[in-house]
């Protein structure tokens, strides 16, 4: 059975999942946790009590997309298209549906009230019968027929009482769907978004570009941070925004770091011995990720994972620091990276613009065998004396 792809909504430059069943699938099947981020502005909660939407990190998004388990939705554009394709007929259909639902609700309510009363009447009847039996014991022979007629009377009475006037039921609340899935043109819209490859790629490009370039360059103008500029355009036009004057060296560095962390998640989930593992952001341990041997609600993490590029120099002080840190919290400090293929190196050296770089990045992302290149080393602290 082909699993349903999960829609990831891009709002601003954040990747969000709104649907509760989707979040369940992410957690239970794909071991992607994300961070719950929803709250009401009037009643802000502490971070442990937050609710949907679930916010995903870029690594998680790229992992899911690369594995073909999710697709991206541009929130603004979907809303826009939704209203564009929405007809009066749709409105009528929707209202009818709502009304049907409402009627159903009323019937449900009616039945509930009926059952309640019925139950109550049954109880009182039994009581009366019991009382009668007691009195019958005393005056044994007095009119059996009377008793029967008495019983009939009671039943009649109860029937009358049970009938519920539907006009008296006043439901204030209408139940609506908690996702837009029920809307009539939703399926059709999603179909388009999901299966138009060019569009998915443009979304991905915009999302990655914003993460790699605009975020680091400290772009103050917020409009640059949004993907809008990329959606309706071709890639070539969109590149003009924000990519001029980018330090290619740095960009490549960030690309490599990003891909190694995505690959790491991929490798964790694809290898049999670590398939039960969960990966969470590791800022509290001063690293990129912490890895749990099972659901983080049940286990402590075992590994602190850092990423370095293959030929990057690492200060020995970092090792001292990492080793000490890991021992202090009884974990293992892991250094992870990707062993480069010769071919990739050639391709890298030929890219001479930010667009090509990111394009190459996306191509590399969909290379199915990528997770086999991941190399991990663990560092432990040892001392004598």
């Amino acid at each position: 059975m082909v699993k349903r792809k999960i829609p990831i909504t891009i709002v601003g430059n954040r990747a969000l999942v709104f649907d509760l069943p989707d979040i369940k699938i992410l957690r239970e099947e794909y071991h992607v946790l994300g961070v719950l981020s929803g709250t009401l502005p009037v009643a802000p909660q502490q971070s442990i009590f937050l609710s949907v939407p679930l916010q995903l990190s870029i690594e998680e998004v790229l992992y899911l997309v690369a594995m073909g388990r999710a697709y991206l939705i541009h929130e603004k554009q979907v809303t826009h298209q939704f209203f564009e394709t929405w007809t009066d007929e749709d409105t009528e259909k929707y209202l009818n549906k709502l009304w049907e639902g409402h009627k159903k609700d009323i019937k449900q309510k009616q039945r509930e009230i009926f059952e309640k009363r019925h139950f109550f009447l049954q109880k009182t009847k039994k009581k009366q019968q019991r009382n009668k039996q007691k009195t019958e014991g005393l005056q044994s022979d007095i009119g059996k027929e009377e008793g029967i007629s008495n019983h009939d009377l009671l039943a009649e009475e109860s029937q009358k009482e049970i009938e519920v006037d539907s006009s008296n039921i006043n439901l204030i609340f209408y139940k609506t769907e908690d996702s837009s899935r029920g809307l009539s043109n939703y399926d059709w819209l999603v179909e388009i978004i999901q299966h138009s490859d060019g569009f998915q790629r443009r979304m991905l490009f915009g999302y990655i570009k914003n993460h790699l370039i605009n975020k680091y360059n400290g772009v103050v103008d917020v409009s640059h941070l949004e993907i809008d500029n990329l959606i309706y355009d071709t890639i070539d036009n969109a590149v003009a925004v924000g990519t001029a004057g980018v330090d290619l060296e740095k960009l490549r560095h960030r690309c490599d770091r990003l891909i190694s962390s995505v690959r790491f998640i991929q490798s964790i989930h694809s290898r049999a011995e670590t398939s039960q593992y969960y990966v969470l952001p590791g800022l509290k341990f001063g690293s990129k990720f912490v890895v749990y041997p099972g659901d983080p609600l049940r286990y402590h993490s075992h590994h602190i994972v850092n990423f370095f590029n293959w030929d990057e120099e690492i200060d020995l002080m970092r090792f001292v620091n990492g080793g000490r840190l890991a021992v202090g919290v009884k974990k293992l400090w892991v250094v992870s990276g990707i062993k480069p293929k010769e071919k990739i190196k050639d391709a890298e050296s030929s890219s001479n613009s930010a667009t090509e770089e990111i394009d190459g990045f996306i191509n590399a992302l969909f290379d199915g065998n990528g997770d086999k290149e991941v190399v991990n080393f663990s560092v432990e602290w040892a001392g004598f004396g």
């Binding site: 400290g218 800022l283 509290k284 341990f285 001063g286 690293s287 990129k288 002080m317 970092r318 001292v320 620091n321 990492g322 000490r324 840190l325 202090g328 004396g385």
Partner: protein, 452 residues
């Protein structure tokens, strides 16, 4: 640490720097005894106190009581050898109580014994371990030995506790076995025997319980059991034998001597500080027959020690890591702190208020160049702070403003031509004045935890 112990340590490590002070006029401060019930003694005390005070202040005003650094210290200069791999070594002489290395350690805690935790104690420890010297008191023990002893004691304590527990279990097992058997036997004689056995074992168990109860407290164990640090006293292992100087003239077993393998290693900043700021050392290359290094040559060696190859002087800039480190080192040394390497915590330096034996380090210094470059990775600092927070120290970012390349090169060129030593000193001072230091404390702040 007890107050007495601290006082004793402070009397050993009196000077914050290896500078000998010579007092021209010894200021004597004679105060007569005060007898509480004798008012005359009060008056006598007050008058002599005032007199003394006046005398001292007069001396200070007239500048007659001169306190200054001894000038003639060329003979006392400490010899530092620098190896081809830029390791700065100070030899530790045996038998002399105030050898150069010990002097450097005692006055300001310079360097580290390469085979010890920090104070060079390898020789003493090994002497005791090999039973070449068996007369020593508990006071002589080095910090490494104290740690080892404590670990030994704890190990023994746990072993004893475990053995008690095992014995107890065994006795309980026996009792239950007897009770089980009692159900089967029928003759009265056997019954009686068993009853006796049971009583005997129960008594043993009581005794054992009492013993193990006494052994619950580690302190009590410490006072009642004398744990030896070096228990093994058999023949020497071949690798230990190799440590002993092979001298055919000494036949007596007790007079064998140990080789000194340890030396005191100085950080490049320490060596340079001792040379430039205190003029206390002479640095020689380890190859025989070489001349003493000039300050400039030493500087070059120090800079090179940070890299695997030599950098020519003309290519140096003001933001060399050695220079940043040195500026920071000099800054805190001149403020009276004891600065030591912080490599064990993953930082550049540690700041001790007095020194390692007296108190723990309070601050960890992370040296950064104060350039406009933005930080790429803040996660690294988070991990640094977690480690330092874990050992209850404070992380301080020391931001150093560096001179421009042209200013730096100009001064360096002048230093290179200058022959006069005092003039050169002034130029070095000018160079150091180009560096500014700003401190910034980095701390984790959690609103829910740090409210009070």
């Amino acid at each position: 640490m007890s107050k007495f112990n601290k006082k004793r340590l402070l009397s050993i490590y009196k000077n914050p720097l290896p500078i000998d002070l010579i007092y021209d006029n010894d200021i004597t401060f004679v105060i007569p005894q005060v007898v509480a019930h004798n008012p005359v003694s009060w008056i006598f005390f007050a008058s002599s106190y005032l007199k003394n005070c006046l005398e001292i202040s007069g001396q200070l005003i007239n500048n007659t009581g001169k306190v200054h650094q001894s000038i003639d210290n060329s003979s006392q200069k400490i010899v530092v050898k620098v190896s081809d791999h830029d390791v700065f070594k100070v030899e530790i002489e045996i038998g002399t109580p105030e050898s150069d290395a010990i002097k450097l350690w005692k006055n300001g805690f310079f360097g580290k014994g390469i085979l010890s935790r920090s104070e060079p104690t390898w020789y003493e420890r090994t002497e005791r371990r090999l039973h070449l010297k068996d007369q020593y008191s508990e006071k002589d023990l080095t910090s490494e030995e104290i740690t080892a002893l404590r670990r030994n004691e704890r190990k023994k304590f746990k072993q004893l506790r475990e053995s008690y527990e095992n014995q107890q279990l065994e006795l309980e097992r026996q009792i239950s076995a007897i009770i089980d058997r009692q159900k089967i036997v029928s003759t009265k004689k056997e019954m009686l025997e068993m009853e006796n056995d049971l009583k005997r074992i129960q008594r043993e168990l009581e005794d054992l319980k009492l013993l193990s109860q006494q052994n619950q407290d580690f302190r009590a164990f410490q006072s009642s059991h004398k744990v030896k640090l070096y228990e093994y006293a058999g023949p020497l292992r071949p690798d230990d034998n190799a440590l002993i100087i092979n001298d055919p003239t000494i036949s007596d077993k007790d007079k064998r001597k140990l080789m000194q393998l340890e030396y005191l290693q100085l950080m490049p900043v320490e060596a340079f500080f001792l040379q430039l700021a205190l003029d206390k050392v002479k640095v020689f290359p380890e190859t025989t027959g070489s001349n003493e290094l000039s300050t400039l040559e030493l500087f070059q060696r120090c800079v090179d020690s940070y890299y695997s190859s030599t950098t020519p002087m003309s290519r140096l800039a003001g933001n060399e890591k050695f220079l940043l480190d040195y500026a920071v080192y000099h800054h805190y040394r001149s403020h009276g702190w004891c600065v030591r390497s912080g490599v064990k915590f993953g930082v550049d330096f540690l700041l001790y208020e007095k020194g390692p034996p007296i108190s723990h380090a309070q601050y960890c210094l992370h040296v950064v160049e104060n350039s406009g470059k933005n930080m790429e990775d803040f996660v690294e600092y988070s991990s640094l702070n977690r480690v330092i927070g874990g050992v209850r120290k404070t992380l301080v970012f020391v931001c150093v403003d560096v001179p421009s390349v042209s200013t730096f090169q100009k001064i360096m060129e002048k230093i290179a031509i200058e022959k006069d030593i005092t003039e050169q000193q002034k130029l070095w001072k000018k160079l150091l004045n180009q560096y500014n230091i700003t401190e910034m404390v980095y701390r984790r702040w959690v609103p829910s935890r740090n409210r009070d």
